[in-house]
């Protein structure tokens, strides 16, 4: 059996760039991003899957990076808050969060925005939520749906009104 201290070769494709790392198995994806790659946009809130501040996208799906062992995600495509803007400027969600004051202290914001980006894709793909009528053909992008689908991201400043407005606004921009 290998030593528990053995380093593992892990390749992460983060925001389109390849990173080859040597990591102990216990290093979380969150710590790999922040401490080993230097992308500190993703935040460590509770480190126990309760707050959503560490939300990143893996192959387009949102996950809590605090519960992810980096070695498990070897070879996968990761998108963090640093990867959402492009040559044309900020992502529509980032613009909408600025416009609608979707934050106060800003600590939960990277997680909120990454989560919302994936949430909009889930919604467009027809994925139901706990408040969706399962028989419904078309789901309305209502406040209730936004709140339920975003319940994994807490904002202790309580900027939820601005967050919801920003997400609704960005959804319309992205749907044009």
């Amino acid at each position: 059996m290998d030593s528990p201290l053995a380093a593992h070769s892990v390749t992460l494709h983060v925001n389109g760039r390849e990173h080859k790392l040597q990591l102990e198995a216990r290093v979380s994806l969150l710590d790999a991003l922040r401490e080993h790659i230097g992308l500190t946009g993703t935040k460590k809130g509770c480190n126990q899957g309760a707050c959503g501040a560490c939300t990143v996208l893996v192959n387009g799906e949102r996950i809590n990076s605090c519960f992810a062992l980096a070695v498990q995600y070897d070879g996968m495509k990761i998108t963090t808050i640093e990867g959402l803007a492009d040559a044309n400027g900020l992502h529509p969600l980032q613009q909408a969060f600025v416009k609608h004051d979707g934050f106060q202290c800003g600590y939960c914001t990277p997680g909120q925005i990454c989560s919302a980006a994936a949430m909009i894709e889930e919604f467009r793909g027809g994925a139901p939520s706990a408040v969706t009528e399962l028989e419904a053909k078309d789901i309305e992008f209502s406040d209730l749906e936004i709140q339920e689908r975003m319940s994994g991201n807490l904002c202790r400043c309580g900027a939820y009104v601005g967050i919801n407005e920003a997400i609704r606004d960005a959804f319309e921009v992205l749907s044009r």
């Binding site: 198995a25 979380s28 949102r62 996950i63 519960f67 992810a68 062992l69 498990q72 989560s115």
Partner: protein, 331 residues
């Protein structure tokens, strides 16, 4: 977190070999419970066998009209699958009411079956807990036990099972498929999880040499008439105080078939067989539902802080059955 040997398994035989050849090894799925428990040092495996790349992430139709759900199907994919939404709506609803979207994207079907209790004393290594350290005692029984069990508990342990998915599966008579040193076997989900008795450290009847490969959902047309309701301290992203999964078939105002399972009340998803038998062939009306709920909760033994769960469970059962009966009227 203590360090550990990480083993990535490419197929289930390699995963099993690694399990059999390694002392104190654990399978790793989505990590939403195990990684947390390892960080808190409640679980301290010497080796972790990553099974997330095994080819067990498919939902396939069975010849008898049922469905086979691979052990690595993610909770979000299971809930959103068109056949699950159509045929087993109670299961979609239950999963969607559990955890958050991020966690459902990570959590697997097999991992959900294996998740451990959310009893605070189990998580607090300064507290006594027979589940974490057999023989040490239980600080929940005389402690703050608002979230604890009212049915089937023992003098050793009053923890509850936290899953929503498993409650719906109990109402559907799902079957857990496992493989181990003696080959494959099937375990009805109602026999998969245990009551605490005097061995609360054992959550399930899965043997230490076994791997969960799939969950089979039987062909069950009545499951289209099903409903899951979860009562909790906040509207989303919280564990159940009480939950009810129900299937109800009514013809000519009388109950032809009833399945009922409760969550948040016991060490395992609580299949309410006494209530089910009472309901059969009786009129589908509030009085019947209330009597059935009273009968099932007769055995309840509330603790100092969770007495509210007894009435809450009864009212939730009645409410769910009323809603299903109302839908039957309209059809």
């Amino acid at each position: 977190m203590n360090n550990f040997v990480y083993i990535r398994a490419e197929n289930s035989q390699r995963a099993l070999n690694a399990l059999w050849e390694t002392n104190n090894a654990k399978f790793l799925g989505g990590g939403t419970n195990l990684v947390d428990l390892m960080r808190e040092r409640i679980e301290q495996p010497d080796a972790v066998i990553d099974i997330t790349r095994l080819p067990m992430n498919q939902i396939t139709e069975l010849p008898d009209g049922g469905l086979r759900v691979g052990a690595l199907v993610r909770n979000s994919h299971l809930a959103a699958h068109p056949l699950i939404r159509d045929r087993y709506r109670v299961l979609s609803q239950a999963i969607l009411m559990g955890a958050s979207a991020q966690l459902r994207n990570m959590a697997t079907t097999g991992g959900n079956l294996m998740q451990r209790t959310r009893c605070y004393y189990f998580y607090d290594s300064a507290a006594r807990c027979n589940k974490r350290t057999p023989g040490s005692g239980c600080d929940a029984i005389d402690g703050f036990n608002r979230i604890h069990a009212i049915l089937g508990a023992s003098s050793q342990c009053v923890a509850t099972h936290p899953s929503d998915m498993c409650v719906a599966m109990a109402a559907l008579d799902a079957v857990v498929r496992v493989t181990g040193k003696n080959g494959e076997r099937s375990i009805p989900i109602t026999e998969f999880h245990r009551l605490p008795s005097d061995t609360p450290s054992q959550d399930t009847n899965l043997n230490p040499d076994e791997l969960i490969t799939a969950v089979d959902l039987p062909n069950f047309p009545d499951a289209r008439k099903s409903l899951y309701r979860k009562v909790r301290d906040r509207a989303s992203y919280a564990f159940a105080l009480v939950s009810v999964a129900a299937v109800l078939d009514v013809k000519g105002g009388r109950i032809q078939n009833a399945r009922l399972a409760l969550g948040g009340v016991a060490h395992r998803p609580w299949r309410a067989t006494a209530a089910e038998q009472f309901l059969l062939h009786r009129p589908a009306e509030e009085k019947t539902f209330r009597e059935a709920a009273e009968l099932e909760l007769q055995a309840a033994k509330p603790l100092a802080h969770n007495g509210f769960k007894v009435e809450l469970a009864k009212r939730t059962i009645v409410d769910v059955l009323m809603e299903l009966a109302g839908k039957a009227e309209v059809q």
